[in-house]
């Protein structure tokens, strides 16, 4: 399989090296993006009629997991683009596709991102408190003729420092809540009044870029509105049969790759290192840990593949959200067990083992945090019971 070869031969050798480069932006490497793009990993999800691979969800999940086995952050740097391919396919006009999808396909360094989070609104965007209509993002967009003038800032934006195009949620009506007063804009990097701020220097996923986007009277043509004005949350999710289909599956499939890597490392180590004259593998406590790692990883694989398959059949369910939550607990546990099995050798830790733990930590706020758990449950419950938000 091409993804496995690329992961083993190209991604993995770079993985720890790029991870250990100081700085927020510096671990990034255009070379590997170009190489992967040439193999189709950047445009995997673009429909065939537009010249992409048009891979279904099952294939996407398999590729994400394989790439993540080599490096979780690099896998995400590729798959982050698939997300917007889904969105473009689902919500953009033909004109927009023409203007943005074509250059995306043509340029191996064209990557995309979406800006929702702001310094004072993270959870509130995802689970807007019902008693506080002003909660949520505040980036202001005001209409001026054929243009919208955007002011404000976004933070932690994926591919922020390297993206050519951003999908940006802005408030076109500040007096109602973000479900009615939010609008989604396409903002090319070259937009006047738009610039990149701080690049975040993270503990895990160091290769993957998160940055601030700053809007100072940034001028965006009305033709760049995605869907309708005031319809951000309705149109902003791309293919959202039963949830943020792609985004939830993406994190779960990526976690699966990391777990596979951790299981391999632990098996190799315990079969090549001895304690008290016996291989680690021969000690009961190590066996129990290894069995748990295997069981959790295989359960996650089963669930990820089931969800991908359900998605391909367009069956609505809450499983997308659940598998993401589940992957958070599994990746934490499996990478931690891997570290316990390795232990410290003298006063040194295997750098890759440590990296997996650091990468895994990203899930706790991205995938399986409290808000995600509560949102998913709300979906499971359907309408009858009102959920008081923020409680």
């Amino acid at each position: 399989m091409e993804a496995r070869r690329f992961s083993d031969e190209e991604i993995r050798p770079l993985s720890v090296k790029r991870d250990q480069i100081e700085g927020g932006f510096e671990p990034w490497d255009w070379d590997i993006i170009e190489k992967g793009s040439k193999l189709g990993f950047r445009t995997l999800a673009v429909p065939k009629e537009w010249g992409g691979q048009g891979a279904d969800f099952v294939s996407q999940a398999v590729v994400m997991a394989e790439l993540a086995r080599g490096d979780s952050a690099m896998s995400k740097a590729f798959s982050q683009n698939w997300k917007w391919s889904h969105l473009i396919a689902a919500a953009c006009t033909e004109d927009q596709k023409e203007r943005f999808l074509k250059p995306f396909l043509a340029d191996h360094r064209y990557v995309m991102g979406r800006g929702i989070t702001e310094p004072n609104s993270g959870s509130d965007n995802r689970l807007p408190p019902e008693d506080d209509p002003k909660a949520g993002f505040r980036l202001r967009a005001e209409r001026k003729g054929d243009e919208w003038i955007l002011n404000g800032e976004k933070c932690f934006i994926a591919n922020g420092s390297v993206g050519s195009l951003f999908f940006v949620d802005a408030r076109t009506n500040p007096d109602v809540n973000i479900k009615q007063g939010g609008t989604l804009f396409m903002v090319p990097k070259t937009t006047p009044g738009f610039r990149i701020g701080k690049v975040f220097n993270k503990r895990g996923w160091r290769f993957y870029q998160n940055a601030e986007l700053i809007f100072e009277d940034a001028r965006v043509p009305h033709a760049n509105v995605v869907g309708t004005v005031g319809g951000a949350s309705a149109t902003g999710k791309g293919d959202n049969t039963g949830g943020d289909l792609f985004g939830d599956l993406e994190l779960a499939a990526n976690a699966l790759g990391v777990c596979d890597d951790a299981v391999d490392l632990a098996m190799q180590f315990s079969r090549s290192h001895k304690r008290a004259g016996k291989y680690l593998f021969e000690h009961q406590l190590i066996q129990l840990k290894l069995a748990e790692m295997h069981a959790l990883t295989e359960a996650l694989r089963s669930y990820v593949m089931r969800v991908a398959w359900i998605h391909d059949r367009r069956e609505p369910s809450a499983n997308a959200g659940l598998v993401m939550i589940y992957s958070t607990d599994v990746i934490q546990r499996v990478t931690a067990l891997n570290m316990e099995i390795h232990g410290a050798e003298g006063c040194l830790m295997n750098a890759r083992v440590d990296k997996l733990v650091r990468d895994a930590m990203v899930w706790t706020h991205l995938a399986g945090d409290n808000v995600q758990r509560m949102r998913t449950l709300r979906k499971l419950a359907g309408k009858p019971v009102p959920v008081v938000s923020g409680d």
Binding site: E22, N120, R275, E345, G346, C347, A351, D354
Partner: protein
């Protein structure tokens, strides 16, 4: 009679160190310029300042010029220091502990007169212990014959009375900054284990002694310890005959009994780390607003923080109990305390608890919990580190010695039961 009152001196110690941490250590240690880079060299200026305050010699008797802190008081001091910076606490803890053991307990009057003044006067005079590498097999040999292994040094007495030391150890804590090394070397090659080891004092500038570079924070394998440390190599390193401490072939530190209380102190350092993370999370939760209210008012955040508070309190109880037990060995024989390896239990539980506390605290920060210019990610790293560090594993393994081993007393629980000597690799407490 049961009494949990602290003495006014203990309270004053605590306040003094806490103020020093807030005003001097935190502004430097938690500055983004310090937090962001992988390499975090020891903050020697702060170590020096702490020394000047007496924190290098807090366990040394007042007689000898120290503050005479017992094990419990030492734990209180180290928890506070570590809430500022774990490495500073570790370095000072090592020197203070070894200073007490050497000058208050082991050296002859003559040796004391020769070495103490320099140690007492020089704020940069640190100590290191270069012992035999603990047998990595001890815990793994659970209920089996002990496997041999581990590097050790050798010492030969020359005819003129001098000692010649050879060999190397891969990691000695405090080695890069120590002015005096307490060396434990095998002087009788016919004996094994703790027998036939001699203890020698070696100044760090002794000829034939090479101290390596501290491990790096990047590369295939990364630095994974607190404090500072490095390899030491002896190549025909010569010290005078009167540098022998105690009797030839009977190193007073060989059986580990005296070193046991340093285990409790390491746990106290851990605890300080966990508390720093928890304090930061509480502060943040009180000002961060989401869902129309400060996040501390959300059940989901509140319960995480309550968990942390309970874990830290449990750890502190266990550490203080173990420390007090070290100061009062009679409490086991009069059946006030169970015959259990309390110091090990304290170390093992604290490492696990603090690892969890740092993670839970970081979760309260959301994305800010993984940013390298913020303290939480460092707390998480330090917590993980302690939980899987080599000395933790060794400690953990002490719980696992065969029940008939002479190296530790039989453990009788309050209930009059034997502790099962289990490996404690399971994380379920």
């Amino acid at each position: 009679m049961y009494d949990l009152h602290l003495t006014p001196e203990q309270l004053e110690f605590r306040d003094t160190v806490r103020d020093f941490v807030e005003n001097e250590i935190k502004p430097v240690a938690l500055h983004p310029d310090r937090l962001q880079p992988f390499e975090k060299p020891l903050l020697t200026e702060l170590v020096d300042k702490a020394s000047q305050m007496g924190l290098r010699t807090f366990a040394l008797s007042e007689d000898a010029g120290g503050a005479g802190a017992d094990d419990l008081t030492s734990c209180i001091v180290l928890e506070e220091l570590a809430a500022g910076e774990v490495d500073i606490a570790t370095v000072l803890g090592h020197t203070s502990f070894l200073g007490h053991v050497l000058f208050d307990q082991l050296l002859s009057a003559e040796q004391r007169a020769r070495f103490l003044p320099k140690f007492a006067e020089d704020d940069r005079y640190h100590l290191a212990f270069a012992g035999r590498e603990p047998n990595a097999g001890a815990g793994w040999s659970y209920h089996r014959a002990l496997a041999e292994g581990g590097a050790e040094l050798s010492a030969k007495r020359q005819t003129e009375g001098n000692w010649v030391i050879n060999g190397s150890l891969p990691f000695v804590a405090n080695a890069p900054i120590a002015k005096l090394l307490v060396v434990q070397a095998r002087s009788d090659p016919k004996k094994t284990g703790a027998n036939g080891m001699s203890m020698l004092l070696v100044p760090s500038d002794a000829k034939g002694l090479t101290i390596g570079n501290p491990p790096k924070a990047t590369g295939e394998a990364v630095r994974w310890h607190q404090g500072t440390g490095a390899s030491v190599t002896f190549k025909d390193c010569r010290v005078p005959g009167d540098h022998l401490v105690g009797k030839e072939g009977q190193s007073p530190l060989a059986d580990g009994t005296l070193l046991a209380r340093s285990v409790t102190q390491m746990a106290a350092i851990n605890l300080g780390l966990g508390r720093a993370a928890y304090d930061a999370a509480v502060d943040y939760a009180k000002i961060r607003r989401q869902g129309g209210r400060n996040i501390i008012e959300h059940q989901a955040i509140g319960s995480k923080l309550a968990d942390c508070a309970i874990k830290l309190e449990l750890a502190r109880n266990m550490i203080w109990k173990a420390a007090w037990a070290a100061d009062h060995p009679d409490a086991v024989s009069d059946r006030s305390l169970p015959e259990l390896p309390l110091h090990t239990m304290a170390r093992v539980y604290t490492a696990r608890a603090v690892n969890e506390v740092t993670l839970l605290s970081a979760e309260c920060f959301g994305a800010m919990g993984v940013m390298r210019d913020m303290p939480l990610q460092k707390y998480v790293h330090d917590g993980r580190n302690t939980c899987t560090t080599d000395s933790y594993s060794r400690t953990r393994m002490r719980l696992t010695m065969p029940p008939n081993s002479q190296s530790r007393r039989r453990s009788r629980a309050t209930s009059g039961r034997l502790l099962p000597n289990g490996l404690t690799g399971d994380e379920r407490w």
